[in-house]
């Protein structure tokens, strides 16, 4: 039974996306319920898959019944099932949210939007579920191409940003494809499990080393790791709200997942950690990502653009957890994939709601927002505290494990970078909170002639379809923090490669 669920995760959104134009041609407003209804199925399926994995251990699904290594295989272990649940739940939440945002932003483009939306989700889930490196490339391209199109329908400047993204994203995909080519030449296999068996004998081959290098660079581009992140800020920032809320939490996280997969499943940790100096390089790049993202974020006056740079920094968090290459660090990294996905989803949803209601994203213009949109701002505050790393919100716990990981690895500078990053986040987010919650300071009074002082501020909350997803993610931030112990003991500790 669980086997079928594994197939449903991919098949349902893929087929459903082709139906969206048909439905849209018939009745445009039915697209939204269709997409939401469709996305429930992958969520249920991935939960069921996770349940199966937790009770009976990992299993694989042979697509079309072809036996691996020739046929394509879906590999479902703790790690992929866990990430699948994250991807499917975030995409459902964002789909629910998208209604008003799309009506407002892109009334003409509802149909293509939802088609691409489903394709993007299919691609992301395919990347996670597949056990075949070439199939992974296919899904990578599906997600990337639909993502380019989704970003390009955004605000002014989006086509240019998309163009940048296409160029760099395609280079990344090419690197990845070249890596696959080299592996295939050397081993004759594309199946991950099969590769993992064959590769150890070839670890000293130059071909494998080059393939490994291509993989690493290609994925670093896809994950937006400094200094290969340059495509990311513009693309994420100019995309429509609903799109940024989907790609900001998921795209980079999924790339980070693939990185863990390739570094520690396809290649053995023994190779990735001891035989090539990739871990220190990734680690130091992440440190730079954290500082660069943080500093750039500090310089922004536009809330969304600030968050986009925070995404750059957060990628650094996850990659640091990977590059310390020990149990604690990887626990932190995997936990942070989840936490960051939820936090970023919440923050970008909030930004979208603010934009929808007030028409601005300028931090300075968020005044009195706590009165206008109390629930939205409460959600923002909770998530902001989580980003700073205040318990019991989830951000604290991933930070804690990441720090433990860096301590165990003896990487003091990395630990310091993580700690500094929380402080940078504190400055970033408290600046926003101050603007939104506290009365304007003296000069602003003078500008308004003191008239706004006694103005009664009406509550003007975001519509329910927006508010509910926001509240769910914010509650998720707290609950995932409180239950992080449970999540670690039942899923993540098995998701960390066994050799650690």
């Amino acid at each position: 039974m669980a086997d079928q669920f594994a197939a449903l995760i991919i098949v349902v959104p893929l087929i459903a996306s082709l139906f969206v134009p048909v439905i849209g041609w018939w009745k445009k407003r039915l697209c939204y319920p269709w997409v939401v209804a469709v996305l429930v199925i992958p969520l249920i399926s991935s939960l069921s898959v996770l349940n199966t994995v937790m009770t009976t251990g990992k299993f694989s699904y042979r697509l079309g019944g072809w036996a691996p290594p020739w046929g394509i295989e879906y590999m479902l272990d703790h790690l992929s099932a866990f990430v699948l649940v994250i991807v499917s739940s975030i995409s459902l939440i964002v789909a629910i949210y998208s209604k008003k945002s799309i009506e407002d932003n892109l009334p003409e483009k509802t149909v293509p939007f939802y088609t691409l939306f489903l394709l993007l989700v299919t691609g992301l889930m395919g990347i996670v579920i597949t056990g075949d490196v070439f199939n992974l490339f296919v899904f990578l391209e599906i997600s990337a191409l639909s993502c380019y199109a989704l970003i390009a329908i955004g605000e002014e400047g989006a086509p240019m940003a998309t163009f940048n993204y296409i160029i760099i994203g395609t280079i990344g995909a090419c690197f990845y494809l070249l890596g696959i080519g080299y592996l295939y030449i050397a081993t004759g296999s594309l199946n991950m499990a099969d590769l993992a068996n064959i590769l150890p004998d070839l670890y000293h081959s130059k071909v494998i080393l080059v393939a490994f290098a291509f993989f690493t660079v290609g994925l670093a581009i896809k994950a937006g790791l400094f200094p290969l992140h340059t495509w990311l800020p513009d693309a994420y920032c100019t995309a429509p709200s609903a799109v940024s809320a989907l790609i900001a939490p998921l795209m980079t996280k999924v790339a980070a997942y693939v990185m863990i997969r390739l570094l520690f499943t396809v290649f053995q940790p023994n190779f990735s950690v001891n035989m090539v100096p990739v871990m220190p390089i990734l680690g130091w790049l992440s440190v730079m990502a954290i500082f660069w993202g943080g500093i750039k974020a500090l310089a922004q006056t536009d809330l969304k653009r600030m968050l986009v740079y925070v995404v750059v920094a957060e990628v650094g968090y996850i990659v640091i957890g990977v590059s310390v290459a020990n149990r604690m660090g990887l626990t932190g990294a995997i936990l942070h994939i989840m936490n960051d996905a939820v936090m970023m989803a919440c923050l970008f949803l909030v930004v979208g709601a603010i934009l929808y209601k007030t028409g601005t994203r300028e931090i300075q213009q968020l005044r009195h927002l706590n009165k206008k949109m109390p629930f939205t701002m409460a959600a923002f505050t909770i998530t902001a505290l989580s980003m700073v790393g205040i318990p019991p919100a989830c951000g604290f716990f991933s930070k804690w494990y990441l720090i433990l990981g860096t301590i165990e690895a003896g990487q003091w500078v990395w630990a310091a970078a993580l700690l500094c990053s929380s402080l940078i986040n504190a400055v970033l987010f408290f600046r926003v909170i101050e603007c939104a919650y506290l009365k304007p300071m003296e000069p602003a009074y003078a500008l308004n002639g003191g008239e706004t002082k006694h103005e009664e501020i009406q509550r003007d909350e975001a519509p329910l379809t927006m508010l509910v997803p926001i509240v769910i993610t914010a509650a998720g931030v707290i609950l995932l923090g409180i239950f992080s112990g449970k999540i670690i003991s039942s899923v993540i500790q098995f998701a960390v490669p066994a050799s650690f």
Partner: protein
């Protein structure tokens, strides 16, 4: 040691957190219902905490595990005598402060009262969490919650000054939180456990250089909240907060949490034995003594009443730290019991400052001439608190000073005796002019010549806390069993170290 498993510690923490959300849900429209949540939670919390005192006094500990992450890494409550002492102080004074707060915010018709009471309840929740923490991780979790829960109170006025004070507060405390996180991670990596143990648990787990570094980090992390110099800067700035906030948070919850953390580190993480071996106890004591004296002198120069009290707080907290750092039986007793005594006396003083602010709108020492005639209860209570803090019998301050001085002698460090004496002199020097001016000087024009006190909601709590400071001076073990708890805690520590 007997362990009693019970969920009472959890409820003690949760009750005010639940109340906080009820307060939020009730909102501004039903003020009386909202306030009744505060009062009910305060009473319930105190009853729950106090119901556990007899168990603790029998020498048992009460334990409750919230969640386990990895072996040795868990969120857990374990109440020992020391934690109980802090729990009782915080929960009993919350009752007084709740009533007082109601009088204060209504007296001044403050804005954002819901937020105020919400944050207050959250603060108390985390303070009790800190008191009952079984290990450093749990401690850190609640310590960070406390940091954030206090922020809305510090910036309550939303003036430029308040916002700047809030920023400074966050800059200091969040940095401290980061340092703590790192140090605690180190300790976990080195020892595989984070559980507090009377007499310390990390001896022998690393080289002395590493241990000294860790000690410095932990003391820095907790010392920021405790206002140990040079990390005290935020405390006087944060006095822009409303007075009940200053009263409870700066005399009881926040700064006491810092001091409580310092004492936990000194006595329960490192332990007297290890600190003697490392030889850092004396350095610690000197640094804190420096704080005592300098804070005393700085207090002399403050005209703003609350800032003067803030420096007096810094002075007294450092005294508690010195008591622990001297590592003798009497000095520890003195230090720990001073946590309780100082709390009651200092909260009285802050309450008085608030009452004066509400009634007379006066904030400066130089404006208090003759006020004793109009507000005899308030100024009388102020006099009691001030006399007590100067260490004059029969107030409770004398008890702690006596033990601290004995401790200095036991440790063969006569210099600290002089530090305590100097501090007492300075206390007299910066408090007595206030008493003198208010009772013996010619009243200022705006002082009414007849009895005209602040609202009863404010006066009654401050009279009660003032009376309690006298009672604790005569019978240190009265009502709350502070003295028994203290000696039990000291016994536990000395029994091992």
């Amino acid at each position: 040691m007997d362990v009693l498993y019970s969920s009472r510690p959890l409820w003690a923490v949760l009750v005010s957190m639940i109340a906080a959300f009820l307060i939020l849900a009730t909102g501004e429209k039903n003020r009386n219902i909202r306030e009744s949540w505060t009062i009910m939670a305060a009473l319930a919390k105190f009853l729950i905490v106090f119901s556990m005192v007899p168990v603790i006094l029998q020498g048992k500990v009460i334990e409750y595990t919230i969640v386990t992450f990895y072996p040795g890494l868990l969120l857990q409550f374990r109440i020992d005598a020391f934690g109980m002492l802090f729990g009782v102080i915080a929960s009993s004074l919350w009752i007084a402060t709740s009533f007082y707060s109601i009088g204060y915010v209504r007296g001044l018709n403050e804005h954002a009262q819901t937020r105020y009471f919400f944050a207050f309840a959250m603060c108390l929740s985390s303070t009790i969490g800190i008191a009952f923490s079984a290990n450093l991780l749990t401690f850190l979790v609640f310590y960070e919650i406390l940091t954030i829960a206090t922020y809305p109170l510090v910036i309550h006025k939303e003036s430029k000054e308040g916002i700047m004070g809030g920023r400074k507060y966050l800059a200091y405390t969040l940095t401290a939180g980061c340092v703590l996180l790192f140090a605690i991670g180190m300790i976990y990596y080195m020892t595989g456990t984070l559980d507090f143990k009377a007499g310390g648990f990390i001896a022998g787990s690393g080289s002395s250089t590493v241990l000294i570094m860790l000690f410095a980090m932990l003391i820095f992390g907790f010392g920021v909240k405790a206002g140990i110099m040079p990390m005290h800067e935020w405390l006087p700035t944060a006095m822009v907060a409303p007075t009940p906030v200053s009263a409870l948070l700066h005399a009881v919850a926040v700064v006491k949490a810092g001091v409580f953390g310092c004492l936990r580190v000194i006595l329960y993480v490192f332990g007297p034995g290890l600190l003697h071996d490392l030889g850092i106890w004396l350095i610690m004591a000197y640094i804190a003594s420096f704080t005592i004296v300098v804070a005393g002198f700085l207090a002399l120069g403050q005209d703003h009443l609350k800032r003067r009290l803030a420096f007096s707080t810094i002075n007294n907290l450092a005294m508690i730290v010195v008591g622990a750092a001297l590592l003798t039986k009497s000095s520890m007793t003195g230090g720990i019991i001073h946590m309780a005594n100082h709390a009651f006396m200092k909260i009285t003083l802050f309450f008085c400052a608030g009452a004066i602010h509400v009634k007379m709108h006066k904030d400066y020492v130089s404006q208090l001439d003759g006020l004793g005639r109009q507000m005899p209860l308030t100024m009388g209570a102020f006099a009691i608190g001030a006399i007590g803090l100067s260490g004059i019998p029969p107030m409770s301050g004398f008890i702690s000073k006596w033990f601290l001085c004995l401790g200095a002698l036991e440790a063969n460090q006569i210099i600290f005796l002089f530090v305590f004496m100097t501090s007492a002199m300075l206390d007299v020097a910066f408090f007595f002019p206030i008493i003198y001016n208010s009772f013996f000087k010619k009243p200022l024009d705006d002082v009414a010549p007849h009895f005209d006190e602040a609202p009863m909601f404010m006066v009654i709590p401050l009279v009660i806390t003032a009376l309690l400071s006298i009672v604790f001076g005569i019978v240190p073990d009265a009502f709350f069993r502070f003295f028994s708890l203290t000696s039990l805690a000291v016994q536990n520590i000395m029994g091992v170290g």
